[in-house]
């Protein structure tokens, strides 16, 4: 049992160090940017049209 545990421990630490060696920490950030960029661009489109609608309504009221 002890042997298996040690084996697992070494195996786990290998996975982690391999992962660090192969992957730039920015990978997560790129995937996230694709998501946030789309959300933020969507919001800014909505805001643009919302402001247009508001301006039209304001003009009408004036």
């Amino acid at each position: 049992m002890k042997k298996i545990f040690i084996h697992l421990l070494i195996f786990n630490s290998l996975i982690i160090s391999n992962a660090h060696a192969y992957l730039d920490p920015g990978t997560g950030s790129i995937i996230l940017q694709a998501i946030i960029g789309a959300v933020a661009a969507g919001f800014s489109y909505c805001l643009f049209y919302w402001n247009k609608v508001k301006n039209i309504l304001k003009k009408k009221n004036n």
Partner: protein
């Protein structure tokens, strides 16, 4: 010529910063030549300086003709800053302004087809109360479809420390000093609770990013494949993301936490006439000495710094252990547009030499170049609250500047009585006679002003 390299600038293969004869220069190397020529030719350098984004920079090739070769292509001179400070020495509002400065500059550049290729908070410095970008070689041409390379770094070095303070009321400075790259997103994620995570911004920039980073570590091949399949990132998405971050950061405030120094200026234990006497001494000292750079140790919200500036000091760098005081002092400096930069500082654990080869970020001691010092209502905090022997306190203070004012507080003072109430009087050598004796070991006493029965201000000159 002696090119004394500045040790913090080793990371960039495109250039090297060095100091010579009290001036700051940058060599643009072969690797940075095209980049530099493009920012000059397209007017980016000039526009960035005139819009107060970038530190004043000019080409000085004429002075360095014999050093120009295939490897060293251009020599630039930058305006010299009075004091180099680091993000772990800034208050909340200073880091916030630095973050906004970075984002505004990135948006400004993107409009003109350029971008910043990294997001190091150390590339921003303070000219009194305003942030300024200092690394000209961090600017490069933007290529359509590219992702923001500095995104992850921006979160770690700017956003995460601000969130730690605004959501949890935790001061970021000591954590930041412990890990010079700021605060890791995965660590912040562990600190935030469910309520904090209900915000969409936090969910995306902290929770989701931590999850993605964790998954990518477990299965890097899958992560790389995902990135390869990603569509190009539009300029519109890039700009929208920067604006969304900007709007979020504008709203951030530190979580309110009252500190013992919050009401110091208004509720300290001495009386009005004592305060007037104190201001007179400070005013006279600055009027007579007109220091180029004065240091105010224990500056609180900047009242004495302000008095010194009015009387003739050109610039003041203030230090205080209380982060709320630093925030107030910074706002005070901005409101009155003073040549005053307040910074967070713990005299019992001052900034040391840190980073690569222990030279990347300089210690407090290495950055000492002050003409004069104020240390008012300060020495007893070292000698009595922290048990530093009186002779060491005096020697340390006199090492900060060759002349200055030090206030000595007697044991009979109300503040001191309070400090010793539980501790007991374990300081038999703490008295005025010993204090004076220790000044005389290192220099002269120029003036002695009795502020009250228990407080005296000494003006000293170091030998």
């Amino acid at each position: 010529m002696n090119f004394s390299n500045i040790s913090g600038s080793f990371r960039d293969p495109a250039g090297q910063v060095f100091e010579n004869d009290d001036r700051i220069f940058r060599i643009v190397k072969k690797q940075g030549k095209n980049r530099y020529e493009s920012i000059v030719n397209k007017g980016i350098l000039e526009d960035s300086i005139s819009n107060n984004f970038l530190i004043k920079t000019k080409e000085v090739n004429n002075e360095f003709k014999k050093y120009i070769n295939e490897e060293n292509c251009y020599f630039l001179e930058h305006e010299k800053l009075d004091y180099i400070s680091y993000p772990y020495e800034w208050g909340f509002y200073q880091l916030k302004d630095a973050a906004l400065h970075h984002l505004n500059y990135q948006i400004f550049l993107l409009k003109r087809g350029f971008e910043l290729i990294d997001s190091s908070a150390y590339n921003i410095q303070f000219l009194n109360n305003k942030p300024i970008f200092i690394d000209v070689l961090s600017i490069d041409e933007y290529k359509e479809g590219e992702y923001w390379k500095g995104h992850s770094q921006f979160l770690q070095q700017f956003l995460n420390p601000l969130l730690l303070s605004s959501h949890k009321g935790l001061q970021f400075n000591d954590w930041y000093k412990g890990n010079l790259n700021g605060i890791k997103t995965s660590e912040l994620n562990e600190v935030l609770n469910l309520k904090d995570k209900f915000s969409l911004n936090i969910f995306l920039s902290v929770v989701l990013l931590s999850r993605l980073e964790k998954n990518n570590k477990i299965d890097p091949k899958k992560a790389l494949a995902k990135i390869k399949n990603k569509n190009k990132f539009s300029k519109n998405s890039y700009t929208s993301m920067l604006l969304q971050l900007k709007n979020w950061i504008i709203k951030l405030r530190p979580k309110e936490k009252k500190t013992i120094w919050d009401t110091y200026s208004s509720e300290n234990t001495y009386k009005k006439e004592e305060e007037i006497k104190k201001l007179e001494v400070i005013s006279k000292f600055s009027r007579e000495n007109k220091p180029e750079i004065l240091v105010d140790i224990g500056c609180n919200d900047g009242l004495y710094s302000f008095e010194s500036l009015k009387a003739g000091a050109k610039k003041v760098i203030g230090f205080d252990i209380d982060i709320n005081s630093i925030d107030r002092a910074y706002k005070f400096s901005q409101k009155n547009d003073l040549n005053f930069l307040p910074l967070y500082f713990d005299a019992m654990n001052p900034s040391s030499n840190l980073g690569w080869d222990e030279k990347e970020r300089s210690s407090f001691k290495e950055r000492l170049h002050f003409d004069a010092m104020l240390a008012l209502a300060f020495e007893h905090h070292l000698a009595l609250a922290n048990n530093v022997p009186l002779e060491q306190v005096v020697a340390w203070l006199m090492n900060v500047a060759k002349k200055g004012l030090i206030e000595f507080v007697d044991k009979e003072d109300e503040t001191v009585k309070r400090m010793l109430y539980l501790k007991g009087d374990i300081f038999p050598n703490y008295n005025k006679k010993n204090f004076e004796k220790n000044i005389l070991l290192k220099g002269k006493i120029i003036n002695k002003t009795f502020i009250s029965a228990t407080r005296t201000i000494y003006e000293y000159n170091k030998n």
